[in-house]
């Protein structure tokens, strides 16, 4: 069933929803990355909650004008207007009062959302028969999606994506170093408004599929996921688009396999699954790889300390150090070094003494910053420089007694 869904064989509506969701996820993932890197993720939450009053008012207006109030384009226009108002409120409160941005976000989010819920209730009592399931915009609903809806969602999403990519350089520069961006002729305030406007557009476009409460997840989770896989901003943007698009597609497909499965929440859960997998498995920044790296480093430290102890005929007390030395075939169970242990220990001590000599050398001492206890001096110096250090060592009394 899922395979059929993924291959777009579950019928017309499921196919529309899957393709629309994929386009939305792609656009949201890539656009959201700029917001994520600017550390303004919560503003998106305020903006999305601020769509609700506009949604309800647009519905009322369309009904009052004699329509049935369910035109997606009309609802989108209304929600965009009130989201824009919410965005301007946050921006104004932050710039012109002493309120911090988080307080401004909290105030705007709750007031707009509360007002929206009131309006929604009014809509339900006024026109009970025709209220058209406006509350489905809270969490998204794809049942009965029209071709024109899917087209609107996909093309709107891709248009936002194109704008975000065109602005990628100034957006990233502002996110990284806004003061410097200003000296490069970039209007930082205008760029911040631009990214928020794009985010608002994504929110409005995604209302039907994901709903206004969960859209922020689709903006932020793919970016956070992609960050695990790359240290370069442009690749993080592309990967976030990929994760977002896959989440939209797979999530929509899963929700099509059984009646009543909500599309939006499942898309969010799929993108969360990508996040968890990346958190655990990504090379470099993933938890598993970090743990392995830590273990390998710890082993090296123990090995080195153990060898230095052996070289100076000190007893090795720590159990882990003894275990590591024995496993490496450097020490016997009774604590006596093997012949390979002897030679490795001597090499370690020689390295240590050379580092010691380096520190007192006038022209090489700068390199002592490279001494982390494990780096071999052979990897840092030329053979000539090492010969010079060895001369110093043999000229002085022994450094390590």
């Amino acid at each position: 069933m899922l395979a059929q869904a993924l291959l777009l064989q579950l019928g017309y509506n499921a196919t529309l929803v899957a393709l629309g969701s994929a386009a939305l996820g792609l656009a949201a993932g890539a656009t959201g990355t700029f917001l994520f890197l600017r550390k303004r993720a919560l503003v998106a939450d305020a903006v999305s909650h601020a769509t609700l009053p506009g949604l309800a008012l647009a519905f009322m207006l369309m009904v009052a004008l004699g329509g049935d109030g369910r035109s997606l384009a009309g609802l989108m226009a209304g929600s965009a207007l009130s989201a824009w108002l919410g965005l301007l409120s946050v921006s104004w409160l932050t710039r012109h009062t002493r309120l911090a941005e988080d307080a401004a976000i909290g105030a705007v989010l709750s007031v707009f959302f509360g007002f929206g819920i009131v309006l929604l209730t009014v809509v339900q009592t006024l026109s009970a028969g025709r209220q058209a399931g406006l509350e489905s915009f809270l969490l998204g609903s794809t049942a009965g999606m029209l071709f024109s809806d899917a087209l609107l969602i996909a093309s709107g999403g891709l248009a936002v994506l194109a704008c975000a990519l065109a602005l990628r350089r100034p957006l990233l520069l502002v996110a990284f170093d806004s003061g410097y961006a200003e000296t490069q002729g970039i209007n930082v305030h205008r760029m911040d408004l631009a990214i928020m406007t794009l985010v608002m557009a994504i929110t409005v476009v995604g209302l039907k599929v994901v709903g206004l409460i969960l859209i922020v997840a689709l903006l932020i989770i793919p970016a956070a996921t992609a960050r695990f896989w790359s240290n370069r901003a442009d690749r993080v943007v592309l990967l976030a688009g990929l994760f977002g698009g896959l989440s939209g597609y797979i999530g929509a497909a899963i929700s099509a396999t059984a009646p009543g499965l909500p599309t939006g929440p499942i898309i969010v859960l799929v993108s969360f699954a990508f996040f968890v997998a990346s958190l655990l498995l990504a090379p470099g920044r993933g938890l598993l790889s970090a743990a392995l790296r830590h273990r390998a480093y710890q082993r090296q430290v123990h090995l080195r300390q153990g060898l230095l102890a052996l070289a100076q005929s000190h007893p090795v007390y720590e159990a882990r150090t003894r275990r590591i030395l024995r496993r490496a075939g450097l020490m016997r169970a009774d604590g006596v070094p093997t012949s390979s242990g002897h030679s490795h220990a001597a090499a370690a001590l020689r390295d240590e003494n050379r580092w010691q000599a380096l520190r007192s050398s006038a022209h090489l001492s700068e390199l002592s910053a490279r001494d982390d206890g494990l780096t071999l001096i052979l990897d840092v110096l030329t053979p000539d420089q090492i010969a010079e250090l060895d001369n110093r060592i043999s000229a002085q009394p022994k450094v390590v007694s």
Partner: protein, 264 residues
């Protein structure tokens, strides 16, 4: 270290042509002025240190000159014209603390940011852009670190990458905010060598500086500030025990100041 050039050999700068001329600049956060009615005329082709105690408005002066912080009053002209027309001739090296070090960007990417004015929104990054960026990294001795994520670099290395980004702009005026703060001795030497080579090319360098003991060795002119301008001019005449004492308002012991401001 070469001895500072005698003041007489420096060209006197006409304020109308100065790389950076500031008149009546006041900046305040809230009702409290941080910089009050400051005039400054930077000498063309010289290295100028901006010195003053903590909280004296040194960084704010630079930021306001660049319009990063919006001044309450005052005019800024760059090479005799308004800042907006000449901003491309200025390269700025911000304080290291102002940046998120976990940002997904590698050293070479940071340097390429210096080419933003050339690249604009959509122009492709071409081989010659990359080569230029790598040359700038090499000039600060960081060519081997081009593909390091910036958070993995030491403080001194990060500062050098920022300097390379400024070099990439091929500017005429370099404004640096505490370039030597928290860097190792090797980096300090590398940075000062690059700055002196810029001066040899006829460029102008202005740096916020906190270490009074190196002012004499590194710079040609000083600008002393403690909210108001406390002095300005060649080291020999402007960097004296009296001016420094006045600027620091008795926060330094007399013996200390005499020692710092006299030739070693």
């Amino acid at each position: 270290m070469t001895a500072p050039a005698p003041a007489a050999s420096l060209p006197r700068t006409d304020p109308a042509q100065s790389p950076l001329a500031i008149r009546g600049l006041t900046v305040s956060y809230g009702q409290q002025p941080v910089v009050f009615s400051v005039d400054m005329t930077v000498q063309d082709g010289a290295m100028t240190a901006i010195i003053g105690p903590n909280g004296a408005g040194k960084s704010t002066l630079l930021k306001a000159a660049l319009n990063i912080v919006k001044p309450l009053a005052g005019r800024v002209s760059v090479y005799g014209r308004p800042l907006a027309e000449q901003a491309h001739r200025i390269a700025y090296v911000p304080q290291r603390a102002s940046v998120d070090w976990d940002f997904p960007t590698e050293a070479l990417d940071v340097v390429l940011m210096g080419l933003y004015r050339d690249l604009g929104l959509l122009r492709r990054v071409r081989a010659h852009h990359i080569k230029h960026a790598k040359d700038c990294l090499a000039r600060v001795g960081m060519e081997d670190f081009a593909d390091r994520q910036i958070g993995q670099l030491s403080g001194g290395q990060q500062q050098r990458v920022f300097l390379a980004r400024a070099l990439a702009q091929k500017a005429d005026l370099y404004l640096l905010d505490e370039p030597f703060a928290g860097v190792d001795a090797a980096t300090e030497r590398a940075i000062i060598d690059v700055l002196k080579s810029l001066k040899d090319e006829g460029k102008t360098v202005v740096a916020v500086h906190h270490d009074l003991s190196t002012v004499r060795a590194y710079f040609d002119t000083v600008f002393l500030i403690n909210r108001r301008k406390m002095g300005e001019g060649p080291i020999a005449t402007a960097f004296t025990p009296e001016t420094v004492q006045a600027t620091y308002g008795g926060r330094l012991a007399d013996g200390q100041i005499t020692q710092l401001t006299q030739d070693a």
